[in-house]
């Protein structure tokens, strides 16, 4: 495994999230493990339905029933947080782990002024009175780059533009200076021109406060821009995880390879973007073995039967039989000859 437990801020071990339905349990996240170091930005990328948002929700304790954590552990600084009673989880939220969601318009209560929402959050976590909390709120708004903050602090969410709203949301998430922020598609609902600003804001603040970020998105461009490491998820499993430069430039897993190939690069002329045949399977139809095997160009018989574990490869880890240790490789070659 990558970093040792003592160094990690967040440690997810063998997490499995299931949805009981009347036709049996659907596994949405299947035995994933990863760590986030303090101050690190981990990108989690994958298609819709790959399980990224669910993982984030589980970490902050907001997994909605009937979904539940069926197996595994989530550790914050070595301490288990997935099985805590409600009040303890609530104490962690906002203070140790914060969250930023996709749509800033629906994340804010339309009937409350921005100042009200900021002040109540601040006073929930910090022992400040109304006046002090308001000053702190003003500071936060200025830090996230809202012009004319002192006039606008009492305005309502609908009176801000989309990008401004997301800055308010970020301010709210950072109120109590949490150690980790789960950012679930923070820029997807924003104009492209605003996205870059928000991402750079997030980066800057996180470096300043030393906050780690789990940045969930389907947009590789955002990952390349902001993340230190990136985990690629597919069908509820981690396909590849490693330093962002390595995963982007030298993708190993066939799926990641396909993802990278499908992104157009300026100055890089191609006639056709790479397409991966087929689509990610529905939860009820995940094939045995490697989940990607029906779409993989390099598929072998072993892939159809045996699910690959994460194996070290250069500075990353890959869940693919192509990268198995040499001992296993020979067996595979033997079989491929049949």
């Amino acid at each position: 495994m990558s970093k040792s437990n003592e160094q990690s801020l967040l440690s997810v071990r063998n997490l499995r999230i299931e949805f009981p339905t009347r036709r049996g349990d659907l596994v949405a996240v299947d035995d994933i493990s990863f760590d986030i170091a303090p101050g690190e930005i981990l990108g989690v990328v994958g298609e819709s339905g790959a399980g990224k948002s669910l993982t984030g929700a589980a970490i902050i304790g907001l997994l909605e029933p009937p979904g539940r954590i069926a197996q595994g552990e989530i550790l914050l600084e070595g301490r288990r947080i997935d099985n805590l009673p409600y009040e303890e989880i609530r104490a962690i939220r906002g203070r140790q782990i914060g969250a930023v969601f996709q749509d800033p318009l629906t994340s804010l209560n339309p009937l409350y002024s921005v100042s009200r929402q900021l002040i109540e959050t601040i006073r929930t976590h910090l022992p400040l009175n109304e006046r002090q909390a308001r000053d702190r709120a003003l500071e936060l708004l200025e830090e996230v780059g809202i012009p004319g903050a002192s006039e606008r602090i009492d305005h309502y969410p609908h009176q801000f533009s989309g990008g401004m709203r997301q800055r308010v949301v970020i301010a709210l998430a950072l109120c109590a200076e949490p150690r980790l922020i789960i950012a679930d598609e923070p820029t997807t609902a924003l104009d492209v021109s605003i996205q870059a600003q928000i991402i750079s804001l997030l980066k800057r603040l996180c470096h300043e406060y030393g906050t780690a970020v789990m940045l969930v998105t389907h947009d590789m461009g955002v990952i390349a821009e902001a993340a230190d490491r990136v985990a690629v998820m597919y069908s509820g499993r981690i396909a590849e995880i490693g330093p962002v430069q390595e995963v982007v430039r030298a993708a190993k897993h066939p799926y990641t390879h396909g993802l990278m190939g499908s992104i157009p690069h300026i100055g890089h002329h191609v006639d056709q973007l790479t397409q991966i045949q087929g689509s990610m399977p529905r939860l009820q139809e995940i094939p045995p073995g490697c989940a990607f095997n029906p779409r993989c160009e390099n598929v072998t018989d072993r892939c159809r039967v045996e699910r690959p574990n994460l194996q070290a490869a250069a500075h990353s880890e890959v869940a693919c039989h192509l990268f198995d240790a040499p001992r296993d490789n020979s067996q595979m070659e033997a079989r491929a000859g049949e």
Binding site: F101, P110, Y112, H158, V169, A173, C175
Partner: protein, 329 residues
């Protein structure tokens, strides 16, 4: 804001005009006022004379204009049945109905709102399911049946409360009130509960369903993600967002109280406007029916206007004259 108000006012006037037209046509085509007013042995000359007097030979638009002008002044003519001015009949009975309606509304709100909030927050608890089942019964039972059952239990079997009438009323100027005498209070309980029961279950189910809807919203999720305690999430955010649409719907419900009062007044022989109207329907007393129609329409229109203004006050998104977010992201 002003433009909004003016627009709504104009709409209100338009609605009233249409209603007045309907009421007028009732006069024109239903029955013959002259026949209603005179006996069988009146001569043709007498009838003609009466026709002239009542202006029934004038062209229709003139008749309508007269009708509308008089209606606006509160003059609805003379009741065929009671041979007295309709306006006076209505005024005499208004206190009875209004007090009944107000008492019912208070009962409905005092019980319905907390029940709705409770069953919305504790959706899966046993008490909630029990309340929901009882509420379904409450909505299914017709008002008159509830009234009869209450009478049977509290008046016939237990003998605690009277089964009909207003009891002793205390006069305050031109107003007669039930609230100031023991007998009056006793008399108003059963009718008010009967009238208010439907409203109560309606309010409760409405608040519950709104609350459940709101609790699924993203901003609630974000509020929890920020670590806000349940108290703030439920009673601060969720409740406020629930009450906004609910307040307005409750306001609109006030109107149905007036309608259901007809039934309650019949069951308990409560001498209010509703009973007056029902008797009018049974003997086809057009002046009272027309007056009631116009009055009710007026009442509804006013309530709608007030509710619209309330919405404006309560929901900041509607106040478009405030500066919107400018600048870049």
């Amino acid at each position: 804001m002003i433009a909004f108000l003016i627009r709504r006012l104009l709409q209100a006037i338009a609605v009233m005009a249409v209603v007045a037209l309907c009421a007028f046509f009732m006069f024109q085509f239903v029955g013959d006022p002259v026949n209603q007013m005179v006996g069988e042995d009146a001569t043709n000359e007498d009838r003609e004379y009466l026709r002239e007097q009542l202006g029934l030979n004038d062209p229709i638009p003139v008749q309508f204009a007269n009708f509308a002008i008089k209606a606006a002044q509160g003059d609805f003519g003379v009741s065929y049945q009671h041979k007295r001015k309709v306006s006076i009949l209505i005024l005499e009975r208004m206190p009875a109905t209004l007090e009944l309606a107000v008492t019912a509304a208070i009962i409905a709100a005092l019980l319905g709102v907390p029940a709705g909030v409770y069953t919305g927050l504790r959706r899966f608890g046993f008490t909630s399911k029990l309340i929901m089942t009882l509420s379904l019964v409450g909505i299914s039972l017709p008002t008159f049946l509830i009234g009869i059952l209450l009478i049977y239990l509290f008046a016939v079997i237990l003998g605690w409360l009277p089964s009909f009438g207003r009891g002793e009323v205390v006069k305050l100027g031109t107003w007669e009130t039930n609230y100031l005498s023991v007998s009056g209070l006793k008399s108003i309980i059963l009718p008010a509960v009967t009238l208010g029961l439907f409203q109560m279950t309606f309010i409760m189910r409405l608040i519950r369903s709104e609350m459940l809807e709101v609790l699924r919203a993203d901003f609630i999720k974000f509020a929890r993600a920020r670590g806000l305690p349940n108290r703030l999430v439920h009673y601060g955010h969720a409740l406020k967002n629930t009450l906004v649409p609910v307040i307005t719907i409750i306001g609109l419900q006030l109107g149905s109280l007036i309608a259901f009062a007809i039934i309650t007044e019949t069951v308990f022989q409560w001498p209010g406007m509703g009973q007056l109207f029902l008797q009018a329907v049974q003997v086809v007393d057009i002046p009272i029916m027309a007056a009631y129609l116009i009055l009710i329409a007026f009442f509804f229109v006013v309530i709608n206007l007030i509710v619209d203004m309330l919405y404006y006050v309560v929901d900041p998104r509607l106040r478009v004259d405030l500066p919107s977010g400018g600048g870049h992201g």
